[in-house]
Symmetry: C2
Subunit: 482 residues, 2 copies
């Protein structure tokens, strides 16, 4: 395929994507294929001779689409939102076309420099304390990670390096192995599974601190766990606070937790993967009070800020903490400006070496929406969640299971878990809308998350009527089926 | 921006990208900006009100392009190639438009299923032993990682889990900490820096095995190191063999190394990040002889197989080895088919949770080029490298520093390292072509890598004439400047 055929096919693809998004409501939100559906539909091995674009695009409809869960369907209320906006798509096209690998400043200076500035823009939008910004000569700064999982892991590794150094300096007789086996990290019992995974990777113990009746960790709970562990000769070194848990969008009390961490020499990382985007609205910034105590902070514009996946933004107060944990400089990556102290080589801030031009998406989205446009978008989602909440509260067969603060509503039928499992199954089997569940303590709970960019009141009303109807059928059914 | 404006702007972007690639030779391959160039060119903070697409596209030329290193310029001979093809761009546009997050089978079945089949296609193309393929009921299979760094880390972590389990079973009195501090992993002294980084992350010792005069590790060198370490009460558990080292594209002797690893219970991972793509040509498949001894194998189609970054393909003989190292299943990610044993949840094969639809790029590229088209592409690059090699050999002021096997030529002026450093600096300062260096033992060496998709003999000839001319000027200069 040469450039002139790309001009033609690329434009067809633009139309295909525009059609897909404009007409997504004609598709079934949740596919009904079975595992292994795709393999029999395509050949066993790659073709020897080239095929045409027409053949492939035809196969997209025939082979791919039947197996797609349509995350941008306005009847998709599962998980949390993932971003999809036209400005981000345009930026990603350009990023693909340029196709550089920005692992060092010299490998494509614009990549690194734009990322530094975009992270400052976004940091200001969410009102981060200035220590987290790079500016012209700050000690902090931001970086785009692929996912919040990676941000948590990177923070944990930096904290681990710091802790080993500190303990070793105070006790030179201890080996790295001795210290490692005594380190202990913490998260909420509601924290994302990625924290546990980060602990597994880093080879350190992770303990879950119990949450209160709002599913939040408070300062005294952390202090109690820390005290017990210190008495047992362990070394607490890392706490991952969650703002907006995956299950119920609960907020750990970082205003209480921060001082505990600071006093105990514990690195505080804040994971606000979903909720963080809302902090661009002044009325939600109170949720971030206490970030001044943190060492690192992360959220995912690729969830709720219209910047397509992947774009997980992470800030640290001291960038040296990250680079010291990772810095390895082989001769083939050295360049002129490296030792000048003026530049940022982002490969020292992350697990992988290669990097795409992801800050371009932020630049396009922030400029084409404007901060006001993005704020409106967040507010619309929150409003729709409250609209759904009101509907649930009006039906006394149902209960709301957690405070509705942003775009997530946790609810269930009053009654057994079995009943609610059956309700969820009937919802997903009907395939008109798509939801998932969570456990809140012993309760099986349905999660209704406002997701699609194009979701409106009419879709929320439709979803509620559908859920109500299925609930009525279920409650009417003979008891043994419940 | 709504869908109808996207139709217009998307098509403009397609033309912009086609223009960029068609006219890339008019641009300067290596930028001459200084660190910090970009910040003064854009505002301090994001705009409150939306801006237009025209304004942004104008800024791309004004602000971005002056700071781009043009990796797809036919005068770019630095690092290794990174892929950029029109079919891959089209697939990535579609992947962006669909915008799903394929962390589990249910989150978008087509994502997982296409990836399984594409990894089988590519595995067959490079003639991997069938144990590495998933097929309908195999125990092995492939996965797309973001980068080779992540593949190495994932392999190392799986090996670590296996080793700890094995040693603990034999010696139940040992704690995990005891075992961890005795584990030792190996790579070539020519291996990529990512192996060292993986060791840092995993908290295990990494030792470099010395290479022979061809910069390759042979079986006896590994055996010697293993024997010494065992005598010192260490536990060897992982060896990362490199096929095509970053410095000189050298090949570790896996036919000798494999049996050592198998006998010693050492996980053998093969990292063929650049060279792996060449194995689609029968005449280069001998380089992979010995892969049958390996536990895991990885290469980067995003380097040399026209599949845009990121697409690092990794295969394992036993997929359980990966999933056991990572499997964490929170309730909010459970789905109906999970326990059936029929499905693959790729989140257990990797560090991050979220995943894009990257196998779509493989499907588009393999079908639109055909295997034959891809083979031709590889052969053209290898031929151009030999063309450059011949030019260097004809000039007796220069020497070739390593066997030219694929698309990389390592060469230098006979003489001091200082002289060659000066030559490289004059080449990059002139900004007509772009190269980087490496160290081979004590020697400072220039690397000439065939990179761009559109590079032809005329560009190689141009580059050589330019280098010759700069060398002549340099050798004529007063001695003190050398």
């Amino acid at each position: 395929m040469n450039a002139s055929e790309f001009r033609k096919r690329g434009k067809e693809m633009v139309d295909y994507i525009a059609d897909y998004i404009e007409e997504i409501e004609k598709r079934q939100v949740y596919p009904n294929v079975e595992p292994g559906y795709l393999r029999p539909l395509i050949p066993d091995s790659a073709p020897q001779e080239p095929e045409t674009f027409e053949e492939i695009l035809k196969d997209v409809e025939k082979i791919i689409m039947p197996g797609v869960t349509h995350w941008h369907h306005p009847h998709f209320f599962a998980y949390f939102p993932t971003a999809n906006s036209f400005p981000a798509l345009l930026a990603d096209m350009l990023s693909g076309g340029l196709g550089c690998i920005g692992f060092s400043w010299a490998s494509s200076p614009a990549y690194t420099e734009m990322e530094m500035v975009m992270l400052d823009w976004l940091g200001k939008m969410v009102n981060l304390p200035p220590q987290f910004l790079a500016g012209k000569d700050g000690e902090g700064g931001g970086v785009i990670q692929g996912t919040a999982s990676e941000a948590t892991l990177v923070a944990l590794l930096a904290a681990r390096t710091n802790a080993i150094k500190r303990v070793h300096t105070a006790n030179p007789e201890l080996t790295q192995g001795d210290i490692l086996s005594r380190l202990v990290a913490y998260s909420s019992d509601q924290a994302h599974s990625s924290v546990e995974k980060a602990g597994l990777i880093a080879g350190v113990k992770i303990k879950q601190v119990p949450t209160d009746e709002k599913f939040a960790v408070c300062g005294s709970a952390l202090q109690k766990t820390v005290d017990e562990d210190k008495a047992a000769d362990l070394i607490p070194f890392f706490f991952c606070a969650t703002l907006g848990t995956t299950a119920s969008c609960a907020f750990d009390k970082i205003l209480e937790l921060g001082p505990v961490c600071n006093k105990e020499n514990i690195w505080m990382h804040i994971d606000a993967e979903y909720a963080g985007s809302s902090f661009i609205c002044p009325e939600f910034q109170y949720l971030l009070d206490g970030v001044e105590f943190a060492d690192s902070f992360n959220f995912n514009p690729h969830k709720w800020l219209l910047v397509n996946f992947d774009c997980s933004t992470m800030w640290v107060k001291k960038r040296r903490d990250l680079t010291c944990a990772f810095k390895i400089d082989p001769p083939y990556l050295k360049h002129d400006h490296q030792e000048s102290g003026l530049i940022t080589d982002y490969r020292h801030w992350q697990i992988p070496l290669g990097r795409r031009f992801r800050s371009l998406k932020m630049w396009f989205v922030f400029r084409m929406y404007g901060v006001k446009g993005l704020q409106e978008y967040i507010r619309k989602h929150v409003k729709l969640a409250h609209e759904f909440e009101v509907l649930v509260r009006q039906d006394d067969r149902f209960e709301i299971c957690a405070d509705v603060i942003l775009g997530l509503v946790c609810f269930r039928l009053k009654g057994s878990n079995k009943l609610n499992e059956t309700l969820l199954k009937s919802i997903n089997d009907a395939r008109k809308i798509h939801l998932i569940s969570c456990h809140l303590r012993e309760k099986f709970v349905l999660r209704f998350a406002i997701c699609a960019r194009t979701v409106e009141s009419v879709h929320v009303q439709f979803a509620w009527k559908h859920i109500e109807k299925l609930a009525t059928e279920l409650l009417r059914a003979p008891l043994q089926q419940q």
